[in-house]
Protein backbone atom coordinates (compact mmCIF):
# COMPACT_ATOMS: atom_id res chain seq x y z
CA UNK A 1 0.00 0.00 0.00
CA UNK A 2 1.79 3.12 -1.29
CA UNK A 3 0.80 6.73 -0.83
CA UNK A 4 1.82 10.22 0.26
CA UNK A 5 1.46 11.77 3.69
CA UNK A 6 -0.75 14.66 4.74
CA UNK A 7 0.52 15.61 8.21
CA UNK A 8 -1.45 17.37 10.94
CA UNK A 9 0.89 18.16 13.84
CA UNK A 10 -1.62 18.15 16.65
CA UNK A 11 -3.42 15.89 19.10
CA UNK A 12 -7.16 15.38 19.55
CA UNK A 13 -8.35 15.74 15.95
CA UNK A 14 -12.06 15.26 16.64
CA UNK A 15 -14.82 13.90 14.46
CA UNK A 16 -16.50 17.33 14.41
CA UNK A 17 -13.59 18.77 12.41
CA UNK A 18 -13.26 15.58 10.31
CA UNK A 19 -16.89 15.97 9.23
CA UNK A 20 -18.83 18.90 10.75
CA UNK A 21 -22.32 18.21 12.16
CA UNK A 22 -24.25 19.94 9.41
CA UNK A 23 -23.17 17.23 6.93
CA UNK A 24 -24.45 14.28 8.99
CA UNK A 25 -27.67 14.55 7.03
CA UNK A 26 -25.82 13.79 3.77
CA UNK A 27 -26.23 10.18 2.62
CA UNK A 28 -24.21 10.39 -0.59
CA UNK A 29 -20.66 9.32 0.29
CA UNK A 30 -19.09 11.25 -2.63
CA UNK A 31 -20.72 14.43 -1.34
CA UNK A 32 -19.58 13.69 2.23
CA UNK A 33 -16.03 13.39 0.91
CA UNK A 34 -16.21 16.96 -0.43
CA UNK A 35 -16.46 18.17 3.18
CA UNK A 36 -13.88 15.87 4.81
CA UNK A 37 -11.56 17.72 7.24
CA UNK A 38 -13.41 20.95 6.40
CA UNK A 39 -13.47 22.02 10.03
CA UNK A 40 -9.66 21.94 10.26
CA UNK A 41 -8.26 22.26 6.78
CA UNK A 42 -10.52 23.79 4.12
CA UNK A 43 -7.87 22.93 1.46
CA UNK A 44 -7.97 19.21 2.25
CA UNK A 45 -10.30 18.32 -0.60
CA UNK A 46 -8.11 20.04 -3.21
CA UNK A 47 -4.86 18.47 -2.00
CA UNK A 48 -5.88 14.89 -1.13
CA UNK A 49 -5.14 12.17 -3.72
CA UNK A 50 -6.37 8.60 -3.98
CA UNK A 51 -4.16 6.40 -1.78
CA UNK A 52 -2.91 9.17 0.55
CA UNK A 53 -2.31 8.70 4.27
CA UNK A 54 -3.06 11.08 7.15
CA UNK A 55 -0.43 11.39 9.90
CA UNK A 56 -1.38 12.92 13.24
CA UNK A 57 -0.78 12.94 17.01
CA UNK A 58 -2.65 11.45 19.95
CA UNK A 59 -6.32 10.58 20.34
CA UNK A 60 -7.22 10.86 16.64
CA UNK A 61 -10.99 10.72 16.00
CA UNK A 62 -12.14 11.67 19.49
CA UNK A 63 -15.71 12.80 20.03
CA UNK A 64 -18.89 11.76 18.30
CA UNK A 65 -19.70 8.21 17.20
CA UNK A 66 -20.46 9.36 13.64
CA UNK A 67 -19.31 6.70 11.17
CA UNK A 68 -19.47 9.54 8.63
CA UNK A 69 -15.94 10.45 9.81
CA UNK A 70 -14.03 7.39 8.47
CA UNK A 71 -16.45 7.27 5.51
CA UNK A 72 -15.68 10.87 4.50
CA UNK A 73 -11.91 10.24 4.76
CA UNK A 74 -12.13 6.92 2.93
CA UNK A 75 -14.17 8.36 0.07
CA UNK A 76 -11.66 11.21 -0.21
CA UNK A 77 -9.05 8.57 -1.03
CA UNK A 78 -7.41 8.14 2.40
CA UNK A 79 -6.32 4.52 2.84
CA UNK A 80 -4.85 4.75 6.34
CA UNK A 81 -4.53 7.13 9.26
CA UNK A 82 -1.21 6.90 11.13
CA UNK A 83 -1.45 8.33 14.63
CA UNK A 84 0.15 8.11 18.06
CA UNK A 85 -3.19 6.87 19.41
CA UNK A 86 -6.86 6.68 18.43
CA UNK A 87 -10.18 7.29 20.13
CA UNK A 88 -11.99 3.99 20.41
CA UNK A 89 -15.25 4.56 18.50
CA UNK A 90 -13.45 6.03 15.47
CA UNK A 91 -10.99 3.12 15.53
CA UNK A 92 -13.76 0.51 15.52
CA UNK A 93 -15.82 2.37 12.92
CA UNK A 94 -12.80 2.50 10.57
CA UNK A 95 -12.27 -1.24 10.93
CA UNK A 96 -15.92 -2.38 11.12
CA UNK A 97 -16.84 -0.84 7.79
CA UNK A 98 -13.39 -1.59 6.27
CA UNK A 99 -13.19 2.11 5.44
CA UNK A 100 -9.51 2.69 6.23
CA UNK A 101 -6.71 1.30 8.40
CA UNK A 102 -6.07 2.99 11.76
CA UNK A 103 -2.33 2.45 12.34
CA UNK A 104 -0.64 3.26 15.64
CA UNK A 105 2.95 4.46 15.48
CA UNK A 106 5.72 5.46 17.89
CA UNK A 107 6.80 9.05 18.68
CA UNK A 108 10.06 8.70 16.69
CA UNK A 109 8.20 7.54 13.58
CA UNK A 110 5.76 10.41 13.96
CA UNK A 111 8.55 13.00 14.18
CA UNK A 112 10.54 11.47 11.34
CA UNK A 113 7.80 11.43 8.70
CA UNK A 114 7.16 14.76 6.96
CA UNK A 115 4.31 16.19 4.94
CA UNK A 116 4.43 14.78 1.40
CA UNK A 117 6.70 11.80 2.17
CA UNK A 118 5.90 8.70 0.15
CA UNK A 119 5.27 5.63 2.31
CA UNK A 120 4.89 1.97 1.52
CA UNK A 121 2.95 0.21 4.30
CA UNK A 122 2.85 -3.55 4.69
CA UNK A 123 0.53 -4.59 7.52
CA UNK A 124 1.44 -8.30 7.17
CA UNK A 125 4.92 -7.57 8.51
CA UNK A 126 3.98 -4.40 10.47
CA UNK A 127 6.41 -2.33 8.42
CA UNK A 128 6.30 1.22 7.11
CA UNK A 129 8.92 2.15 4.48
CA UNK A 130 9.56 5.84 3.92
CA UNK A 131 10.53 5.86 0.23
CA UNK A 132 11.30 9.59 0.29
CA UNK A 133 13.69 9.37 3.26
CA UNK A 134 14.83 5.79 2.63
CA UNK A 135 13.95 4.70 6.16
CA UNK A 136 11.97 1.84 7.65
CA UNK A 137 9.79 1.98 10.77
CA UNK A 138 7.74 -0.56 12.70
CA UNK A 139 4.03 0.07 13.15
CA UNK A 140 2.35 -1.17 16.34
CA UNK A 141 0.73 -4.49 15.35
CA UNK A 142 -3.07 -4.72 15.40
CA UNK A 143 -4.43 -6.70 18.34
CA UNK A 144 -5.33 -10.23 17.28
CA UNK A 145 -8.99 -9.35 17.59
CA UNK A 146 -8.84 -6.28 15.35
CA UNK A 147 -6.52 -8.10 12.94
CA UNK A 148 -9.19 -10.77 12.45
CA UNK A 149 -11.91 -8.23 11.61
CA UNK A 150 -9.54 -6.42 9.19
CA UNK A 151 -8.57 -9.71 7.57
CA UNK A 152 -12.24 -10.64 7.14
CA UNK A 153 -12.94 -7.30 5.45
CA UNK A 154 -15.15 -5.78 8.12
CA UNK A 155 -17.60 -6.63 10.89
CA UNK A 156 -20.24 -8.24 8.69
CA UNK A 157 -17.72 -10.53 7.03
CA UNK A 158 -16.10 -11.59 10.29
CA UNK A 159 -16.91 -15.14 11.38
CA UNK A 160 -15.54 -16.67 14.58
CA UNK A 161 -13.05 -19.55 14.17
Amino acid sequence: MKGNVIKYERDNIDTDVIIPGQYLKVHDYAELALHAMEGLDPDFHSKVKEGDFILSGRNFGCGSSREHAPIALSHSGIKAVLALSFARIFYRNAVDGAFLLPIEIEEDTYSNISEGDELDIDIRINEIKNLTKNKTYKMKPFSEIIGKIIEAGGLFKYKPD
Binding site: E9, R10, D11, N12, D14, D16, V17, P20, G21, Q22, L24, K25, V26, H27, G39, L40, G57, R58, N59, C62, G63, S64, S65, R66, E67, S85, A87, R88, I89, R92, N93, D96, G97, S143, E144, I145, I146, K148, I149, G154, L155, F156, Y158, P160, D161
Partner: protein, 471 residues
Protein backbone atom coordinates in the same frame (compact mmCIF):
# COMPACT_ATOMS: atom_id res chain seq x y z
CA UNK B 1 -9.70 -12.53 43.14
CA UNK B 2 -12.87 -10.46 43.20
CA UNK B 3 -14.43 -8.71 40.22
CA UNK B 4 -15.21 -5.10 39.44
CA UNK B 5 -18.80 -4.06 38.72
CA UNK B 6 -17.88 -3.69 35.05
CA UNK B 7 -16.47 -7.24 34.91
CA UNK B 8 -19.59 -8.65 36.55
CA UNK B 9 -21.89 -7.00 33.98
CA UNK B 10 -19.59 -8.04 31.12
CA UNK B 11 -19.43 -11.65 32.29
CA UNK B 12 -23.22 -11.83 32.66
CA UNK B 13 -23.62 -10.84 28.99
CA UNK B 14 -21.09 -13.10 27.27
CA UNK B 15 -22.60 -15.17 24.47
CA UNK B 16 -19.27 -16.37 23.06
CA UNK B 17 -15.83 -15.86 24.55
CA UNK B 18 -12.52 -17.31 23.35
CA UNK B 19 -8.97 -16.22 24.02
CA UNK B 20 -7.55 -13.71 21.52
CA UNK B 21 -10.87 -13.32 19.76
CA UNK B 22 -13.51 -10.69 20.18
CA UNK B 23 -16.23 -11.55 22.71
CA UNK B 24 -19.82 -11.70 21.53
CA UNK B 25 -21.79 -9.64 24.05
CA UNK B 26 -25.57 -9.60 24.46
CA UNK B 27 -27.24 -6.19 24.33
CA UNK B 28 -30.26 -5.58 26.57
CA UNK B 29 -31.41 -2.23 25.23
CA UNK B 30 -30.78 -0.49 21.90
CA UNK B 31 -31.65 3.19 21.60
CA UNK B 32 -31.99 4.55 18.07
CA UNK B 33 -32.11 8.10 16.69
CA UNK B 34 -32.48 9.63 13.26
CA UNK B 35 -28.85 10.46 12.39
CA UNK B 36 -26.81 7.26 12.84
CA UNK B 37 -29.51 4.74 11.90
CA UNK B 38 -30.63 5.22 8.24
CA UNK B 39 -27.72 3.31 6.66
CA UNK B 40 -28.13 0.54 9.25
CA UNK B 41 -31.77 0.00 8.26
CA UNK B 42 -30.76 0.14 4.58
CA UNK B 43 -28.23 -2.61 5.31
CA UNK B 44 -30.93 -4.78 6.89
CA UNK B 45 -33.15 -4.36 3.83
CA UNK B 46 -30.31 -5.12 1.40
CA UNK B 47 -29.63 -8.40 3.17
CA UNK B 48 -33.27 -9.32 3.83
CA UNK B 49 -32.76 -9.21 7.57
CA UNK B 50 -35.32 -8.28 10.21
CA UNK B 51 -34.78 -6.60 13.58
CA UNK B 52 -34.00 -9.45 15.98
CA UNK B 53 -35.61 -7.89 19.08
CA UNK B 54 -37.83 -4.92 18.22
CA UNK B 55 -39.15 -5.15 21.79
CA UNK B 56 -35.69 -4.21 23.13
CA UNK B 57 -35.26 -1.36 20.63
CA UNK B 58 -36.58 2.17 21.26
CA UNK B 59 -36.33 5.15 18.92
CA UNK B 60 -36.73 8.89 19.16
CA UNK B 61 -35.70 11.94 17.14
CA UNK B 62 -33.47 14.47 18.84
CA UNK B 63 -30.41 15.59 16.83
CA UNK B 64 -32.14 17.28 13.90
CA UNK B 65 -35.39 18.50 15.36
CA UNK B 66 -36.02 22.23 15.47
CA UNK B 67 -36.73 23.48 19.01
CA UNK B 68 -39.14 26.23 18.03
CA UNK B 69 -42.87 25.83 17.42
CA UNK B 70 -43.62 22.13 16.82
CA UNK B 71 -46.74 22.85 14.77
CA UNK B 72 -44.66 24.43 11.99
CA UNK B 73 -43.19 22.32 9.17
CA UNK B 74 -39.46 21.51 9.25
CA UNK B 75 -37.86 23.91 6.79
CA UNK B 76 -34.55 22.10 6.31
CA UNK B 77 -35.43 19.46 3.73
CA UNK B 78 -32.55 17.10 4.52
CA UNK B 79 -33.53 17.09 8.21
CA UNK B 80 -37.16 16.51 7.30
CA UNK B 81 -36.13 13.54 5.15
CA UNK B 82 -34.00 12.04 7.94
CA UNK B 83 -36.90 12.38 10.38
CA UNK B 84 -39.40 10.83 7.93
CA UNK B 85 -36.91 8.03 7.23
CA UNK B 86 -36.78 7.12 10.92
CA UNK B 87 -40.61 7.10 11.04
CA UNK B 88 -40.72 4.74 8.05
CA UNK B 89 -37.96 2.50 9.38
CA UNK B 90 -39.65 2.15 12.78
CA UNK B 91 -42.98 1.36 11.10
CA UNK B 92 -41.44 -1.20 8.69
CA UNK B 93 -39.43 -2.97 11.39
CA UNK B 94 -41.95 -2.76 14.27
CA UNK B 95 -39.93 -0.48 16.57
CA UNK B 96 -41.50 1.78 19.23
CA UNK B 97 -40.87 5.41 18.23
CA UNK B 98 -41.36 8.56 20.29
CA UNK B 99 -41.83 10.96 17.41
CA UNK B 100 -41.66 14.73 17.30
CA UNK B 101 -45.20 15.11 18.66
CA UNK B 102 -44.93 12.50 21.39
CA UNK B 103 -45.03 13.67 25.03
CA UNK B 104 -42.11 11.24 25.54
CA UNK B 105 -39.90 12.77 22.82
CA UNK B 106 -36.55 14.11 23.90
CA UNK B 107 -32.82 13.58 23.88
CA UNK B 108 -32.35 9.82 23.86
CA UNK B 109 -30.12 9.92 26.97
CA UNK B 110 -32.66 11.97 28.88
CA UNK B 111 -35.73 9.88 28.04
CA UNK B 112 -34.11 6.45 28.61
CA UNK B 113 -33.83 6.90 32.38
CA UNK B 114 -37.04 8.97 32.63
CA UNK B 115 -39.06 6.16 31.06
CA UNK B 116 -37.42 3.42 33.13
CA UNK B 117 -35.83 1.89 30.01
CA UNK B 118 -32.35 2.25 31.55
CA UNK B 119 -31.84 -0.46 34.18
CA UNK B 120 -28.96 -1.37 36.51
CA UNK B 121 -26.77 -4.26 35.40
CA UNK B 122 -27.96 -4.08 31.78
CA UNK B 123 -26.00 -3.47 28.58
CA UNK B 124 -27.20 -0.45 26.59
CA UNK B 125 -25.95 0.82 23.25
CA UNK B 126 -26.88 3.67 20.92
CA UNK B 127 -25.30 5.19 17.83
CA UNK B 128 -24.23 8.15 19.94
CA UNK B 129 -21.08 8.63 21.99
CA UNK B 130 -22.92 10.07 25.00
CA UNK B 131 -24.62 6.75 25.66
CA UNK B 132 -22.16 6.59 28.56
CA UNK B 133 -24.77 8.72 30.43
CA UNK B 134 -26.79 5.60 31.33
CA UNK B 135 -23.82 4.27 33.33
CA UNK B 136 -25.10 6.46 36.19
CA UNK B 137 -27.57 3.63 36.88
CA UNK B 138 -24.92 0.90 36.99
CA UNK B 139 -25.58 -0.09 33.37
CA UNK B 140 -22.75 -0.84 30.93
CA UNK B 141 -23.65 1.72 28.28
CA UNK B 142 -21.58 2.90 25.34
CA UNK B 143 -21.75 4.58 21.95
CA UNK B 144 -21.35 2.66 18.71
CA UNK B 145 -21.05 3.48 15.00
CA UNK B 146 -23.59 2.74 12.29
CA UNK B 147 -22.10 -0.65 11.27
CA UNK B 148 -22.48 -1.78 14.87
CA UNK B 149 -26.02 -0.32 15.01
CA UNK B 150 -26.87 -2.59 12.08
CA UNK B 151 -25.19 -5.54 13.81
CA UNK B 152 -27.23 -5.00 16.99
CA UNK B 153 -30.46 -4.52 15.04
CA UNK B 154 -29.83 -7.81 13.25
CA UNK B 155 -28.50 -9.92 16.11
CA UNK B 156 -28.97 -8.08 19.46
CA UNK B 157 -25.23 -8.73 20.02
CA UNK B 158 -21.85 -7.09 19.37
CA UNK B 159 -18.30 -8.37 18.86
CA UNK B 160 -16.26 -6.43 21.40
CA UNK B 161 -12.78 -6.20 22.80
CA UNK B 162 -12.91 -6.17 26.58
CA UNK B 163 -12.01 -2.73 28.01
CA UNK B 164 -9.94 -2.39 31.20
CA UNK B 165 -11.47 -1.22 34.50
CA UNK B 166 -10.39 2.27 35.69
CA UNK B 167 -11.27 3.46 39.20
CA UNK B 168 -11.84 7.17 39.77
CA UNK B 169 -12.46 8.08 43.39
CA UNK B 170 -14.12 11.42 44.13
CA UNK B 171 -13.44 12.21 47.76
CA UNK B 172 -14.50 14.95 50.16
CA UNK B 173 -17.42 17.39 50.33
CA UNK B 174 -18.04 20.40 48.11
CA UNK B 175 -18.32 23.55 50.22
CA UNK B 176 -21.12 25.05 48.14
CA UNK B 177 -22.90 22.27 46.24
CA UNK B 178 -25.25 24.71 44.49
CA UNK B 179 -22.34 26.61 42.95
CA UNK B 180 -19.83 23.78 42.49
CA UNK B 181 -21.71 21.11 40.58
CA UNK B 182 -21.34 17.66 39.03
CA UNK B 183 -20.26 19.44 35.82
CA UNK B 184 -17.35 21.01 37.69
CA UNK B 185 -16.36 17.61 39.09
CA UNK B 186 -16.25 15.92 35.68
CA UNK B 187 -14.52 18.89 33.99
CA UNK B 188 -11.91 18.81 36.78
CA UNK B 189 -11.36 15.09 36.20
CA UNK B 190 -10.93 15.55 32.43
CA UNK B 191 -8.62 18.53 32.97
CA UNK B 192 -6.42 16.32 35.15
CA UNK B 193 -6.42 12.95 33.34
CA UNK B 194 -6.67 14.44 29.83
CA UNK B 195 -8.96 13.78 26.88
CA UNK B 196 -7.33 10.41 26.24
CA UNK B 197 -6.75 9.53 29.90
CA UNK B 198 -9.55 6.98 29.86
CA UNK B 199 -8.81 5.40 26.45
CA UNK B 200 -9.57 1.69 26.36
CA UNK B 201 -11.20 1.69 29.80
CA UNK B 202 -14.53 1.65 31.56
CA UNK B 203 -14.40 4.14 34.42
CA UNK B 204 -16.10 3.32 37.71
CA UNK B 205 -16.73 6.49 39.75
CA UNK B 206 -16.69 5.90 43.51
CA UNK B 207 -16.38 7.71 46.81
CA UNK B 208 -18.32 10.17 48.94
CA UNK B 209 -18.23 12.86 46.26
CA UNK B 210 -20.22 10.50 44.00
CA UNK B 211 -22.64 8.93 46.49
CA UNK B 212 -23.57 12.47 47.60
CA UNK B 213 -24.83 13.27 44.10
CA UNK B 214 -28.43 12.90 42.93
CA UNK B 215 -29.18 10.60 39.97
CA UNK B 216 -29.40 13.54 37.57
CA UNK B 217 -26.00 14.82 38.73
CA UNK B 218 -24.52 11.33 38.36
CA UNK B 219 -25.75 11.32 34.76
CA UNK B 220 -23.76 14.51 34.10
CA UNK B 221 -20.63 12.74 35.38
CA UNK B 222 -21.10 9.54 33.34
CA UNK B 223 -22.19 11.52 30.25
CA UNK B 224 -18.77 13.13 29.89
CA UNK B 225 -16.75 9.93 30.47
CA UNK B 226 -16.37 9.78 26.68
CA UNK B 227 -14.68 13.21 26.75
CA UNK B 228 -11.93 11.56 28.82
CA UNK B 229 -11.68 8.92 26.09
CA UNK B 230 -13.33 6.15 28.14
CA UNK B 231 -15.57 3.57 26.53
CA UNK B 232 -18.09 4.00 29.34
CA UNK B 233 -18.54 5.37 32.86
CA UNK B 234 -20.27 3.49 35.66
CA UNK B 235 -21.60 4.18 39.13
CA UNK B 236 -22.74 1.28 41.32
CA UNK B 237 -26.49 1.53 41.97
CA UNK B 238 -27.71 2.46 45.46
CA UNK B 239 -31.01 3.37 47.12
CA UNK B 240 -31.12 6.66 45.15
CA UNK B 241 -30.88 4.68 41.91
CA UNK B 242 -33.64 2.25 42.90
CA UNK B 243 -35.91 5.07 44.06
CA UNK B 244 -35.40 7.05 40.83
CA UNK B 245 -36.54 4.14 38.63
CA UNK B 246 -39.47 3.00 40.80
CA UNK B 247 -42.87 3.34 39.09
CA UNK B 248 -41.72 4.74 35.75
CA UNK B 249 -43.52 3.97 32.48
CA UNK B 250 -41.36 0.97 31.49
CA UNK B 251 -40.07 -0.07 34.92
CA UNK B 252 -40.44 -3.90 34.98
CA UNK B 253 -43.38 -5.41 36.89
CA UNK B 254 -41.09 -7.56 39.08
CA UNK B 255 -39.09 -4.45 40.01
CA UNK B 256 -38.74 -5.08 43.77
CA UNK B 257 -37.27 -8.55 43.28
CA UNK B 258 -34.84 -7.07 40.75
CA UNK B 259 -33.85 -4.42 43.30
CA UNK B 260 -33.10 -7.16 45.85
CA UNK B 261 -30.82 -8.86 43.34
CA UNK B 262 -29.12 -5.60 42.26
CA UNK B 263 -28.55 -4.53 45.87
CA UNK B 264 -26.69 -7.78 46.59
CA UNK B 265 -24.78 -8.16 43.33
CA UNK B 266 -24.12 -4.90 41.50
CA UNK B 267 -21.00 -3.71 43.27
CA UNK B 268 -17.26 -4.09 42.94
CA UNK B 269 -15.80 -6.73 45.25
CA UNK B 270 -13.46 -5.40 47.92
CA UNK B 271 -10.56 -7.47 46.54
CA UNK B 272 -11.15 -6.60 42.87
CA UNK B 273 -8.29 -5.01 40.93
CA UNK B 274 -8.43 -1.96 38.69
CA UNK B 275 -5.87 -1.41 35.91
CA UNK B 276 -5.77 2.32 36.65
CA UNK B 277 -6.67 4.61 39.54
CA UNK B 278 -7.14 8.34 40.00
CA UNK B 279 -8.49 10.35 42.95
CA UNK B 280 -10.03 13.84 42.86
CA UNK B 281 -10.56 15.73 46.12
CA UNK B 282 -13.54 18.06 45.79
CA UNK B 283 -13.39 20.01 49.06
CA UNK B 284 -11.84 23.04 47.40
CA UNK B 285 -12.64 22.79 43.71
CA UNK B 286 -13.91 25.89 41.94
CA UNK B 287 -16.49 26.30 39.16
CA UNK B 288 -14.81 25.32 35.86
CA UNK B 289 -14.74 27.16 32.51
CA UNK B 290 -13.21 25.70 29.34
CA UNK B 291 -10.99 28.15 27.45
CA UNK B 292 -9.85 26.00 24.50
CA UNK B 293 -11.14 23.58 21.87
CA UNK B 294 -11.31 20.32 23.78
CA UNK B 295 -12.82 19.62 27.21
CA UNK B 296 -9.36 19.09 28.75
CA UNK B 297 -8.56 22.76 28.06
CA UNK B 298 -10.37 23.93 31.17
CA UNK B 299 -9.48 26.03 34.22
CA UNK B 300 -10.98 27.45 37.40
CA UNK B 301 -13.18 30.54 36.99
CA UNK B 302 -10.74 32.36 39.28
CA UNK B 303 -7.79 31.70 36.92
CA UNK B 304 -6.66 33.36 33.69
CA UNK B 305 -6.37 32.00 30.16
CA UNK B 306 -3.10 30.02 30.30
CA UNK B 307 0.05 30.59 28.26
CA UNK B 308 0.55 27.67 25.82
CA UNK B 309 4.03 26.91 27.24
CA UNK B 310 2.59 26.61 30.77
CA UNK B 311 -0.36 24.49 29.64
CA UNK B 312 1.74 22.12 27.52
CA UNK B 313 4.43 21.37 30.14
CA UNK B 314 7.01 20.84 27.40
CA UNK B 315 4.93 18.70 25.01
CA UNK B 316 5.21 20.19 21.47
CA UNK B 317 1.87 18.88 20.16
CA UNK B 318 0.08 20.16 23.27
CA UNK B 319 1.73 23.57 22.81
CA UNK B 320 0.71 23.78 19.16
CA UNK B 321 -2.78 22.60 20.12
CA UNK B 322 -3.09 25.33 22.75
CA UNK B 323 -1.81 28.04 20.36
CA UNK B 324 -4.27 26.96 17.68
CA UNK B 325 -7.06 26.83 20.28
CA UNK B 326 -6.35 30.35 21.55
CA UNK B 327 -6.27 31.67 18.00
CA UNK B 328 -9.61 29.99 17.22
CA UNK B 329 -11.13 31.19 20.50
CA UNK B 330 -9.69 34.72 20.00
CA UNK B 331 -8.30 34.76 23.54
CA UNK B 332 -5.08 36.28 24.86
CA UNK B 333 -3.07 34.36 27.47
CA UNK B 334 -3.26 36.03 30.86
CA UNK B 335 -6.82 37.32 30.40
CA UNK B 336 -8.83 36.66 33.58
CA UNK B 337 -11.68 34.25 32.81
CA UNK B 338 -14.13 36.66 34.46
CA UNK B 339 -13.23 39.34 31.87
CA UNK B 340 -14.36 37.16 28.94
CA UNK B 341 -17.55 38.62 27.48
CA UNK B 342 -20.12 36.33 25.89
CA UNK B 343 -22.73 36.73 23.12
CA UNK B 344 -24.84 33.62 23.60
CA UNK B 345 -25.89 31.23 26.36
CA UNK B 346 -27.10 27.66 25.83
CA UNK B 347 -28.64 25.76 28.73
CA UNK B 348 -29.40 22.32 27.35
CA UNK B 349 -27.98 19.00 25.98
CA UNK B 350 -27.77 15.43 27.29
CA UNK B 351 -25.20 16.67 29.82
CA UNK B 352 -27.25 19.36 31.56
CA UNK B 353 -30.89 19.68 30.50
CA UNK B 354 -32.66 17.74 33.22
CA UNK B 355 -35.14 19.16 35.70
CA UNK B 356 -32.58 19.76 38.47
CA UNK B 357 -30.28 21.59 36.04
CA UNK B 358 -33.12 23.92 35.11
CA UNK B 359 -34.19 24.43 38.75
CA UNK B 360 -30.63 25.35 39.77
CA UNK B 361 -30.19 27.72 36.81
CA UNK B 362 -33.57 29.36 37.53
CA UNK B 363 -32.41 30.31 41.05
CA UNK B 364 -29.65 32.42 39.51
CA UNK B 365 -32.02 34.02 37.02
CA UNK B 366 -35.07 34.67 39.21
CA UNK B 367 -36.02 38.35 39.36
CA UNK B 368 -33.11 39.43 37.14
CA UNK B 369 -32.76 40.34 33.46
CA UNK B 370 -30.56 38.98 30.74
CA UNK B 371 -27.59 41.17 29.87
CA UNK B 372 -28.80 43.31 26.93
CA UNK B 373 -26.11 42.11 24.48
CA UNK B 374 -26.65 38.39 25.20
CA UNK B 375 -29.09 35.96 23.58
CA UNK B 376 -29.90 32.99 25.84
CA UNK B 377 -31.79 29.74 25.19
CA UNK B 378 -33.09 27.18 27.63
CA UNK B 379 -33.79 23.87 25.88
CA UNK B 380 -35.27 21.17 28.14
CA UNK B 381 -33.81 17.69 27.52
CA UNK B 382 -37.21 16.12 26.93
CA UNK B 383 -40.85 17.08 26.60
CA UNK B 384 -41.36 15.47 30.04
CA UNK B 385 -38.69 17.74 31.56
CA UNK B 386 -40.34 20.70 29.84
CA UNK B 387 -43.75 19.83 31.30
CA UNK B 388 -42.38 19.27 34.82
CA UNK B 389 -40.45 22.56 34.65
CA UNK B 390 -43.55 24.43 33.50
CA UNK B 391 -45.53 22.96 36.40
CA UNK B 392 -42.93 24.55 38.68
CA UNK B 393 -43.18 27.87 36.84
CA UNK B 394 -39.56 27.76 35.63
CA UNK B 395 -40.54 28.78 32.09
CA UNK B 396 -41.96 32.01 33.51
CA UNK B 397 -38.78 32.73 35.51
CA UNK B 398 -36.67 32.33 32.37
CA UNK B 399 -38.96 34.20 29.97
CA UNK B 400 -39.43 37.05 32.48
CA UNK B 401 -35.65 37.42 32.38
CA UNK B 402 -35.76 37.47 28.52
CA UNK B 403 -34.41 33.93 28.04
CA UNK B 404 -35.96 31.83 25.24
CA UNK B 405 -37.87 28.76 26.47
CA UNK B 406 -37.86 26.08 23.77
CA UNK B 407 -38.98 22.56 22.79
CA UNK B 408 -36.87 19.48 23.57
CA UNK B 409 -33.94 18.33 21.45
CA UNK B 410 -30.14 18.31 21.13
CA UNK B 411 -30.40 21.91 19.93
CA UNK B 412 -27.22 23.99 20.02
CA UNK B 413 -25.00 21.20 21.34
CA UNK B 414 -24.00 20.04 17.89
CA UNK B 415 -24.80 22.43 15.05
CA UNK B 416 -27.03 20.19 12.96
CA UNK B 417 -30.40 21.83 13.52
CA UNK B 418 -31.41 25.50 13.22
CA UNK B 419 -29.93 26.36 16.66
CA UNK B 420 -26.36 27.35 15.81
CA UNK B 421 -23.81 30.03 16.60
CA UNK B 422 -22.81 32.53 13.92
CA UNK B 423 -19.10 32.71 13.05
CA UNK B 424 -17.20 34.49 15.83
CA UNK B 425 -20.00 34.30 18.39
CA UNK B 426 -18.92 33.30 21.89
CA UNK B 427 -21.19 31.02 23.90
CA UNK B 428 -21.38 29.90 27.54
CA UNK B 429 -22.74 26.40 27.03
CA UNK B 430 -23.82 23.61 29.36
CA UNK B 431 -23.09 21.02 26.65
CA UNK B 432 -20.17 18.59 26.46
CA UNK B 433 -17.91 19.55 23.53
CA UNK B 434 -16.06 22.76 22.75
CA UNK B 435 -14.54 21.44 19.50
CA UNK B 436 -13.95 23.91 16.66
CA UNK B 437 -17.23 24.46 14.82
CA UNK B 438 -19.17 22.14 17.10
CA UNK B 439 -21.95 24.68 17.73
CA UNK B 440 -21.76 26.14 14.21
CA UNK B 441 -18.91 27.09 11.87
CA UNK B 442 -16.61 29.61 13.56
CA UNK B 443 -18.58 29.51 16.83
CA UNK B 444 -16.65 29.68 20.12
CA UNK B 445 -17.79 27.44 22.97
CA UNK B 446 -17.01 27.68 26.68
CA UNK B 447 -18.21 24.64 28.66
CA UNK B 448 -19.73 25.46 32.04
CA UNK B 449 -22.38 24.25 34.50
CA UNK B 450 -26.01 25.44 34.27
CA UNK B 451 -25.58 27.90 37.18
CA UNK B 452 -22.39 29.32 35.66
CA UNK B 453 -24.14 29.69 32.27
CA UNK B 454 -27.12 31.41 33.90
CA UNK B 455 -24.86 33.79 35.84
CA UNK B 456 -22.89 34.64 32.69
CA UNK B 457 -26.16 35.37 30.89
CA UNK B 458 -27.16 37.90 33.53
CA UNK B 459 -23.77 39.59 33.82
CA UNK B 460 -22.69 39.36 30.16
CA UNK B 461 -19.36 37.79 31.14
CA UNK B 462 -18.19 34.87 33.29
CA UNK B 463 -18.57 35.33 37.04
CA UNK B 464 -17.74 33.14 40.03
CA UNK B 465 -21.19 31.85 40.88
CA UNK B 466 -20.01 31.09 44.44
CA UNK B 467 -20.31 34.82 45.08
CA UNK B 468 -24.07 34.74 44.40
CA UNK B 469 -26.78 33.70 46.84
CA UNK B 470 -28.22 30.45 45.46
CA UNK B 471 -30.19 29.10 48.40
Amino acid sequence: MGKTLFEKIWDAHIVVEKENSPSLIYIDRHLVHEVTSPQAFDGLRMNNRSVRRPDLTIATMDHNVPTNNRTLPILDQTSAVQIQTLEKNCKDFGIQLFDINSPNQGIVHVIGPQLGITLPGSTIVCGDSHTSTHGAFGALAFGIGTSEVEHVLASQTLWLEKPKPFEIRVEGKRKNPHAVTAKDIILSIIKNIGTSGGNGTVIEYKGEGISDLSMEQRMTICNMSIEAGARAGLIAPDEKTFEYLRGRKYTPKNYESLVDYWRDNLKTDSDAKFEKNYTLHVDNIAPQVSWGTNPGMTCDVTESVPFPEDFSKGDQNQKKGAEKALEYMALKPGTPITEIKIDRVFIGSCTNARLEDLIEASKVVKGKKLSPHVRAMVVPGSQMVKKQAEELGLDKIFTDANFEWREAGCSMCLGMNPDILSPGERCASTSNRNFEGRQGTGGRTHLVSPVMAAAAAIEGHFVDVREMDLN
